[in-house]
C-alpha cells in the first residue's frame, strides 16, 4: 500500500501524538486535511519535546539575563562571556526515554546530541558531564541499565575526544521504570564568532552536511513525549544509533568552516531531524524554505518524504551559506570525508515546501506552525508542605552509621563510572572527577572553568520549591568550593506526566525555587531542556530539575580541591548547623524513612558564606575545601580524609549527636587550613557575620569523631569504594 493513500483521520493523528483538538487546529491552519508527511511534521513539531507546550508558561519565570550573558535560552545552547574575547557555550539535555529502551545507544546519542548543540554555535566542546538517575539497585533491570548507559556515554565521548569530567550517579525506586540520562556539554568559542540558527538571505543555499539519512529514530520526539507502559520496549526502533567517529569529523569540519565567513546560519538535526531544524531556521529568520528531498543523502534506497523528514539519524547539520560559498564549504567537508549536499534554498514565501520525485510532498506555512502551536496552561496542584519530622532515633553507633552511609549506593565512590570515561583527553583537566566541581583550563590561558551538575530529587519531591532552590544553590556551592565564581546555569527539567495537576505542581514549585535562587545568587539560566512524561503505568519519577553550573577562576593555580595537603592542618566548618534530618540520607538509608521537610535554603546566608569561602580561597589561605551536602559533616570529613589518604580528629558542634553528624543543613563548607591561620580566619568570619567553628585537625591514619569509635582509613576506604564495583560484578 502506498503511504500517500492513507486517509488522515483523528485516529491517525492520535498515532502521531496529536490530540483531537490539536488535529482540529492543524486542519484550521491548512484549510484542508494534511497529508501524511504534513501530519508527521505537525506531530513532531507540536510534541512536548519540541514545543514545550506544557512548560513554557513556567519557564518564562526563570531569570535569564546578566551582564555576562551573551545568549540566553532559545538558541541551541546558552552563551556567556568569560573575558578576553572568549565565550563559554553550554547546555544540558535529557535522553531519558531512549536510554531506558536501549541504554547504550540512548546514552551515546544523548552525548552526541548535546555536543552538536554546542559546536553548532561555533564552540569547541571542552568538557562533558552526565547526571544519571537509576532505579533501586535491587530492581532486575538496574544493573544492565547502569552498565549500558555508562558504556554508551564512554563509547561516544571517548571516541570524540572530549573529556567527561563530572556528573552524578544516584539510585531511587521512583526511577525503576524511567531512568534519567542528562548530558551536558561545555564549549569554548570566540565571543565575536557565535553562530545562530536564523535563516536569512532570499535565494541562499540550504546545505545538508554530515551523515546520511537512514530510517532510524523515526518518531523519536513523539516517543519521548509519551508515558511508558509495559510494551515500551517495542519502541526500540525509535532509538537512534550513534556514530562518534562521524561526530568527531563533523566537529572538525564545522569548526574549520566557521573560520571562514561562509556560514549565515547553522542548526543541528536533533529531535525530529530535518523537520525541526529546517522549521526552526525558517521560523527564526521569518523566511520560507524550499527543499528538494531527492537531494538529501540517504543511507537506504526508496526512502519516502515522510521518512526523510522524520528520521533522527545522528551526526547531521543544516546550514545556510552565503551565495557562492558552496565550493569553499564543499572542500572542507570532502576533506573530512563527510556528505555535503545543497538541498534547497531560502525563499520569501513564508512557506516550507518539500519536493520529492518532482511532486510537492508538503506545503506548510512556517509562522503558524510555530506561533499557533498549542500552549497549555495545565491545572496545577501545588505539593502540600510536608509534616514536620517527628523524633528520630539513633540508628546505631556514629562510626557504624558513617560506614553504612559511605557504602550506600548514592554516597559510594563512583570511580567505577568515571574510570570508563576519558576525563583527561585535551590535557586541560586540572580537577578530575570525584570532588566537588571538576575543572578544565581555558586552553592556553591561566583561566579555568569549574563545572558541576547537581540536584537532590528527594528534596524536590518533599518540597518542590525548597528542592528547586537547593539544586541551584548546590551547584553554586560546589563551584565556589573550588574558588571559582559561579556564572550561570543550564537546567534539565525531568518530571512525570504534566496532565496530572500534582506533577504540574511539582514543576511550578521547582521553577519557583530555582527562580529565587538564581535571583539571590546572580546566577541566571542560559539554556535548558524539559523532559516530561517520565512515568510508567502512572508512576512518575521524583521531580528532578538537574542543574548544570559553570564558574570561572582567573588562575587555575588558585583553585583548591577536597584533599587536605598536610597533617596538622585545621578543619574549619563554615555555616550554621542545626542538625536537620528531614529527607536526609541518614533517614533514608539507615532508618528506611523518606519523610519530613527538606533542609531549608537560606539564600542570603548561602551567598554570604560562599562569598567568604571564595575570598579565602583566592587569597591563598585555604589548602582544601569541600561542601557539606548528602550525609552531612561526618560524610564530608570522611571524603576529605579519603581524598588525602590522611586521618583526622574532629569534634562535632554541640557534641556527638546523630543529627549534628549527619544532618544536611545547607550553605556549609569544610575548609582545611594551616594551623597558624585558623584564629585569624575565625576572626574574619566573625567580622563578616559568617558562622565558623574549628572542627578538628588532619593527621594520622584514622578518622575519629570525639567520643566515637575511631575508624581506620582502610575501613573507610573499603566502605566507600566497594559497593559499586561489587554491585556491578553481581
Amino acid at each position: 500500500m502506498s503511504k500517500s493513500v492513507i486517509e488522515i483521520t483523528p485516529e491517525v493523528a492520535a498515532s502521531h501524538g496529536l490530540k483531537a483538538d490539536e488535529f482540529q487546529r492543524v486542519v484550521e491552519i491548512l484549510g484542508r486535511n494534511p497529508n501524511l508527511v504534513e501530519l508527521g511534521i505537525f506531530g513532531a513539531m507540536w510534541s512536548e519535546h519540541c514545543s514545550y507546550k506544557s512548560s513554557k508558561k513556567w519557564l518564562k519565570r526563570l531569570p535569564t539575563s546578566a551582564p555576562w550573558v551573551i545568549c540566553g535560552p532559545g538558541e541551541n545552547a546558552g552563551v556567556i562571556d568569560i573575558g578576553d574575547g572568549q565565550a563559554v557555550v553550554f547546555k544540558m539535555e535529557s535522553h531519558n526515554h531512549p536510554s531506558f529502551i536501549e541504554p547504550y545507544q540512548g546514552a551515546a546519542t544523548g552525548v552526541g546530541g548535546i555536543m552538536r548543540d554546542v559546536f553548532t554555535m561555533g564552540a569547541r566542546p571542552i568538557a562533558n558531564l552526565n547526571a544519571l538517575r537509576f532505579g533501586e539497585p535491587a530492581h532486575p533491570k538496574t544493573r544492565m541499565l547502569v552498565a549500558g548507559v555508562v558504556h554508551g556515554i564512554g563509547g561516544y565521548g571517548n571516541c570524540v575526544g572530549v573529556p567527561t569530567i563530572g556528573g552524578e550517579t544516584t539510585f531511587h525506586k521512583s526511577y525503576n521504570g524511567n531512568i534519567l540520562v542528562n548530558a551536558m556539554t561545555v564549549g569554548l568559542a570566540r565571543a565575536d564568532r557565535i553562530f545562530y540558527s536564523a535563516a536569512a538571505g532570499i535565494g541562499n543555499p540550504v546545505v545538508y552536511v554530515g551523515s546520511k539519512t537512514g530510517r532510524d529514530g523515526i518518531h523519536g520526539a513523539v516517543m519521548a513525549s509519551a508515558e511508558f507502559d509495559d510494551k515500551s520496549e517495542e519502541k526500540r526502533p525509535t532509538v537512534q544509533v550513534g556514530d562518534p567517529f562521524t561526530e568527531k569529523l563533523l566537529i572538525e569540519a564545522c569548526l574549520e568552516l566557521m573560520e571562514s565567513d561562509a556560514i549565515i546560519a547553522i542548526q543541528d538535526m536533533g529531535a525530529a531531524g530535518l523537520t525541526s531544524s529546517s522549521f526552526e531556521m525558517a521560523s527564526k529568520g521569518g523566511v520560507g524554505i524550499e527543499l528538494d528531498l531527492d537531494l538529501v543523502p540517504c543511507r537506504e534506497a526508496r526512502m519516502t518524504a515522510y521518512e526523510i523528514m522524520l528520521s533522527e539519524s545522528q551526526e547531521r547539520m543544516l546550514m545556510i551559506l552565503k551565495p557562492g560559498r558552496e565550493d569553499v564549504a564543499r572542500q572542507v567537508f570532502e576533506k573530512w570525508e563527510l556528505d555535503f549536499a545543497v538541498i534547497g534554498r531560502v525563499t520569501d514565501t513564508g512557506r516550507m515546501i518539500l519536493k520529492k520525485d518532482g511532486q510537492v510532498a508538503a506545503d506548510l506555512p512556517v509562522a503558524p506552525l510555530a506561533e499557533k502551536a498549542p500552549m497549555y496552561d495545565r491545572p496545577v496542584q501545588m505539593t502540600p508542605k510536608p509534616a514536620p519530622l517527628g523524633d528520630v532515633p539513633a540508628a546505631g553507633d556514629i562510626a557504624d552509621c558513617l560506614l553504612k552511609l559511605l557504602a550506600s549506593p548514592d554516597l559510594s565512590k563512583k570511580d567505577w563510572v568515571w574510570r570508563q570515561y576519558d576525563h583527561m583527553v585535551m590535557a586541560d583537566t586540572v580537577i578530575r572527577p570525584g570532588g566537588d566541581a571538576s575543572m578544565v583550563r581555558v586552553h592556553g590561558t591561566r583561566k579555568a572553568l569549574a563545572v558541576t551538575t547537581d540536584c537532590t530529587p528527594r528534596y524536590c519531591f518533599a518540597d518542590p520549591e525548597e528542592g528547586g532552590a537547593q539544586a541551584v544553590a548546590e551547584t553554586w556551592r560546589n563551584i565556589t568550593a573550588t574558588g571559582a565564581k559561579p556564572l550561570a546555569i543550564t537546567d534539565c527539567m525531568n518530571f512525570g506526566n504534566p496532565e496530572r495537576p500534582e506533577i504540574m505542581g511539582q514543576f511550578a514549585g521547582c521553577i519557583e525555587g530555582m527562580r529565587k535562587a538564581c535571583l539571590a545568587l546572580d546566577y541566571p539560566v542560559v539554556s535548558g531542556n524539559v523532559s516530561l512524561y517520565n512515568e510508567t503505568n502512572g508512576q512518575g519519577v521524583q521531580p528532578t530539575p538537574s542543574i548544570g553550573g559553570v564558574g570561572l577562576i582567573d588562575d587555575w593555580a588558585k583553585a583548591v580541591q577536597i584533599a587536605p595537603k598536610a597533617d596538622g592542618e585545621v578543619l574549619v566548618l563554615i555555616g550554621e548547623t542545626k542538625g536537620h534530618l528531614g529527607q536526609s540520607l541518614y533517614l533514608r538509608e539507615l532508618l528506611g524513612r523518606e519523610d519530613g521537610p527538606p533542609p531549608p535554603v537560606d539564600l542570603s546566608a548561602e551567598r554570604r558564606n560562599g562569598d567568604f569561602v571564595r575570598a579565602e580561597i583566592l587569597a591563598g589561605r585555604v589548602k582544601a575545601c569541600h561542601d557539606v551536602s548528602d550525609g552531612g559533616i561526618a560524610v564530608a570529613v570522611a571524603e576529605m580524609c579519603l581524598a588525602a589518604g590522611r586521618g583526622a580528629e574532629a569534634g562535632l558542634p554541640g557534641g556527638l549527636g546523630h543529627a549534628v553528624a549527619f544532618g544536611e543543613d545547607q550553605g556549609r563548607y569544610i575548609l582545611s587550613i594551616a594551623a597558624g591561620e585558623a584564629a585569624a580566619l575565625l576572626d574574619r568570619a566573625a567580622k563578616s557575620g559568617v558562622p565558623a567553628a574549628r572542627l578538628g585537625q588532619v593527621g594520622g591514619d584514622r578518622l575519629t569523631f570525639q567520643g566515637a569509635r575511631a575508624i581506620s582509613l582502610h575501613d573507610l576506604r573499603r566502605a566507600h569504594e566497594s559497593w559499586l564495583p561489587n554491585y556491578m560484578a553481581g
Binding site: G154, G161, F245, K248, D422, T429
Partner: protein, 229 residues
C-alpha cells in the same frame, strides 16, 4: 630538532602531544594530515592517540594503510625515530612497525586512570632521562590496550631488552593487580629491534605539565629532544 605529528581522521590526542612537544622543543611540530605522504624531513614522528577511523574494523587497521603511514614505515626503516602513543601504538603494530597486537582489555571496559610504570631500560633515546627501574606515574586511556604476542616473541622481546615499560605497583613490583588491561607480562610499551620506534599505551603528554598533576611524562619527551637536538 624537528618533529611531525600524523593526524588521522579520528585522532584526538594530536593537539595534546603538539603542546607537550612544543613545550620541550621550544617550537611547534609539523601537523601532517594522513593523506600527505610528502611531509618535511623530521627527526621524530609521532603517531598520536585517539580513535582513527572510529576504531572500526580493528583499532589502527585502517590508519595503517594511510598514505602518510607508508612514508612513516619507510622512514622508520631508515632510522627516523617514531613515538607511537595509544592508538598510535595500535597503528604501529598494524603497520608492522612493532611486533604483537593490542587486544580488547581483559575486563572489557575502557579504562582512564593514572598507572604506575617501571622503566625497564634507560639505554634508549626515549628514556635517557629516567633511571633504570624507576617507577613513574603516567595515565592510560583505552579500551584496547591488552598487549599480546606469541610466547616466543615475548621471550625474544624480554631477552633482547625490547620491553620498554611494564605496569607495576607503586613499589615497582610487577603484579596482576597493577595490570590495567590484562597485557601479557604487564607490558605497556615495546621497541622495535633497532630501538628507533617505541609504542606504548600510556600517554606521556597527559602528565607533562604540573598543572595536570605531574610531569613524569615530560621526561620521555625531554629525553628525545635532548637526543635529537
Amino acid at each position: 630538532m624537528d618533529a611531525a605529528v600524523i593526524v588521522f581522521p579520528g585522532s584526538n590526542c594530536d593537539r595534546d602531544i603538539k603542546v607537550a612537544l612544543a613545550q620541550s622543543m621550544g617550537k611547534e611540530p609539523h601537523m601532517v594530515w594522513h593523506r600527505d605522504a610528502d611531509f618535511p624531513k623530521v627527526d621524530l614522528i609521532v603517531l598520536p592517540g585517539g580513535f582513527s577511523y572510529g576504531d572500526y574494523l580493528r583499532c589502527g587497521a585502517m590508519a595503517a594503510h594511510s598514505p602518510a603511514m607508508r612514508e612513516v614505515v619507510a622512514r622508520a626503516g631508515k632510522g627516523t625515530r617514531v613515538l607511537a602513543i595509544c592508538n598510535g601504538f595500535q597503528i604501529a603494530t598494524e603497520a608492522g612497525l612493532l611486533p604483537g597486537a593490542l587486544m580488547r582489555n581483559a575486563h572489557l571496559q575502557y579504562v582512564c586512570s593514572d598507572v604506575n610504570l617501571r622503566i625497564e631500560t634507560n639505554q634508549t633515546e626515549f628514556m635517557a632521562k629516567y633511571r633504570p627501574g624507576q617507577v613513574v606515574r603516567i595515565p592510560v586511556g583505552h579500551a584496547d590496550g591488552n598487549y599480546q604476542a606469541d610466547e616466543a616473541t615475548l621471550d625474544r622481546l624480554e631477552g633482547e631488552g625490547l620491553v620498554a615499560l611494564r605496569y607495576c605497583d607503586p613499589n615497582g613490583t610487577i603484579s596482576s593487580a597493577a595490570n590495567p588491561n590484562g597485557a601479557a607480562r604487564n607490558i605497556a610499551g615495546v621497541y622495535n629491534d633497532e630501538r628507533n620506534v617505541l609504542g606504548l599505551m600510556p600517554h606521556p603528554e597527559r602528565l607533562s605539565d604540573a598543572a595536570l598533576g605531574g610531569t613524569d611524562g615530560r621526561l620521555m619527551i625531554d629525553s628525545l629532544v635532548e637526543a635529537l637536538s
